[in-house]
């Protein structure tokens, strides 16, 4: 065997700190698409950068795991890209760490040259109407979290025994919810939807879903792929109001291509409807804003919603809805508000704009705070698809690299990075989950899914997730048996002395 005598740094999976790198250390808060795409670009642009991703849940991937609909598995392929990033030798993932509570932003800033906030939007915009807190009213974020296995939504238990559901908002999330409510169970049971959601949907009596928006067909926020899926839903027909489409045909020719194709499909669906024998129906209702949730006679749950009728002032994307004074009541037992996610402040040390619900920034550099950056929804607001977040994260990474190269970040100071933070978390009793340990959880979910004929059965309980990896026999160095530890130590002592790696 020939031996290469050049200096090499040896790292063990899951154990940082043996590496002798003295390059920039960057911390990313949030293990979703924004976090991973930012990490990917940083690792590519600087061969000496080390990136650590911190995530509150034991499991990574954020909305790709908890937001993308179960019947959109191809969209989740991006997880493979993120997995490659997480497995990169200069990247490490630390799950089950609540930044802001387990560790502060200031502590992270002391341990790293730069900190990137990519923690997304975990709150939701409220309608701000009476009756919003009645049983039967849910935010789309919670409903989606429920069928996607987000631990904090596992007890949601929506009552699906009513015939009509009303969804406020007409974006892609609203269409996802409508589609999941009306999709045939045979189709859903082969997806990674949670078992309890599947059971609830199998027993659902919901047959009619109305998707309500403040403005008109030309302002609808969903995209054509999702609309096409509604149109093609088996055993369903479209039920819209012709009055809502007055004047639309004439406006078609001036529209940019995406809006034109979307509007044409909508008009076709409104005109053709579908099979009259179809058991289920769905439809858009335009120019309507919610003003009150109507409670039943006992006042204990929602039985309807009062909508105000609007007229449109202006045209195009900037058209505004103006009240007319007219009202309309719709009977329904399930109301889902899908009017937007919302970021929340993470730490008092970080500036936050409560009106726009984002971290104020200039091209990703957090205002008035050197060394602090942001990417994804917390930077620009909760809009766009994965590709949008990707471009945005690449932008932030580019800006960070520029700052490194321009000397705006003092890289001459050695920062301890994950070593210091992991030690700190240990003293606070926080059990971090490394990527290799998530892979154990992943394997368990896939195993359970296989038994049920699904790609995976998600674990719903954080404690259960943590238990899975501690039961593992061979994980990180810290967790292996004494004999194995001794074997590793002897091996590396041998390598170090033989190849003089201690220089």
């Amino acid at each position: 065997m020939s031996y290469n005598k050049k200096h090499v740094s040896v790292t063990l999976p899951g154990v940082r700190g043996l590496s002798s790198s003295s390059g920039p250390r960057v911390c990313i808060v949030g293990g979703g698409p924004a976090g991973f795409y930012t990490a990917q670009q940083l690792l590519k642009a600087r061969q000496d950068a080390a990136v650590d991703v911190y995530e509150r849940l034991p499991v990574p991937f954020g909305l790709v795991r908890f937001g993308v609909a179960p019947d959109h598995p191809e969209v989740k392929n991006v997880i493979n890209t993120f997995t490659q990033t997480a497995q990169h030798e200069r990247c490490s993932f630390h799950g089950n760490v609540n930044v802001g509570k387990d560790v502060t932003i200031d502590e992270l800033r002391q341990a790293y040259h730069a900190v990137v906030l990519s923690y997304g939007a975990e709150g939701n915009r409220s309608m701000g109407i009476p009756g919003e807190d009645l049983p039967g009213v849910f935010s789309a974020k919670d409903f989606v979290g429920w069928y996607n296995g987000l631990p904090s939504n596992k007890e949601l238990r929506p009552d699906l025994s009513c015939e009509t559901a009303v969804i406020l908002g007409q974006g892609n999330v609203a269409l996802d919810v409508a589609r999941i409510l009306l999709a045939p169970v045979e189709m859903l049971k082969e997806t990674d939807i949670t078992q309890n959601a599947l059971k609830a949907l199998a027993g659902s009596k919901v047959r009619r879903v109305l998707i309500v928006g403040r403005r008109g067909p030309l302002q609808i926020a969903c995209t054509i792929k999702e609309l096409r899926e509604m149109v093609n839903l088996p055993n369903s027909r479209a039920d819209m109001l012709p009055a809502d489409f007055e004047g639309i045909a004439e406006a078609l020719k001036d529209l940019p291509r995406p809006r034109k194709r979307l509007t044409e499909l909508m008009m076709k669906a409104a005109k053709e409807g579908g099979d009259d024998k179809a058991e289920k129906c769905w439809g858009f209702r335009f120019f309507r804003s919610p003003v009150e949730v109507i409670a039943g006679a006992d006042g204990k749950r929602a039985t309807g919603i009062r909508l105000a009728l609007n007229k449109l002032e202006g045209s195009g994307e900037s058209a505004r809805a103006e009240v007319t004074g007219q009202m309309e009541d719709v009977d329904c037992g399930l109301i889902i508000s899908s009017i937007g996610y919302k970021s929340i402040p993470i730490d008092p040390a970080v500036p936050f704009d409560p009106r726009r619900a984002i971290v104020p920034n200039e091209m990703g550099r957090v205002q008035d705070t050197a060394g602090l950056y942001c990417s994804g929804w917390v930077k620009r607001g909760p809009t766009g698809v994965i590709a949008t977040t990707m471009n945005d994260s690449f932008d932030t990474a580019r800006v960070l690299i520029q700052d490194m190269e321009a000397g705006k970040l003092d890289l001459s100071v050695n920062k301890p990075g994950a070593q210091a933070i992991t030690a700190l978390l240990q003293t606070r009793g926080v059990r971090t989950v490394l990527f290799s340990q998530w892979e154990k959880i992943n394997a368990e979910e896939e195993k359970r899914g296989k038994f049920l004929g699904k790609p995976r059965e998600k674990l719903l309980d954080v404690d259960e997730m943590l238990k899975i990896w501690t039961d593992a026999r061979f994980m990180s160095f810290e967790n292996c048996s004494f004999k194995r530890k001794l074997c590793w130590i002897l091996c590396f002592m041998h390598l170090f002395t033989k190849y003089r790696l201690y220089q």
């Binding site: 497995q87 030798e89 974006g171 290799s436 091996c491």
Partner: protein, 186 residues
Amino acid sequence: MAASAAVRSAVSLTQRFVRVSPDCSICPLYRLNACTGATDGFTAPSRRLRTSIGVCQSGDSSSPEEEERVVNVVYIDRCGQRIPVQARAGENALHLAHKHGVDLEGACEASLACSTCHVYVSSEHYEKLPEPEEREDDMLDMAPMLQENSRLGCQIVLTPELDGMELTLPKVTRNFYVDGHVPKPH
């Protein structure tokens, strides 16, 4: 020697339990050029791009008649750098880009569920491509800075008549939409 055997078995044991494709770059044996490839028969999951027009496996072997079907393609990356590559007819433009280190993302791995492989095709070659199917048009509608000659890279299959084609990666800027459209809240 015993130490390398220990490392080798430890690494392969890790891989068995963790079921991860072996990342040779972190293994001390590999770094020291002492790896003999003995990882007890563990095979890495192969990344096969499942395109809508067929499965494209990496590492296709060439044969004499295929050498005649060489297609020259030039990628122009986001910095304007020209990257000429030689491809074979039947190859997929996204897969080809990855093979040659061109910075073209393919988040959904060629399953027509995203628009991250959006490219601009040189106009004389754009006409020679088959019409996009409806699903591709749906995804293109979501791509920022859509142009007349926009296509998704994962749907472009190379043929000899596309020889000399130039695929330009859209420059990423803060203003994503050329018509000023701003995506609405989710």
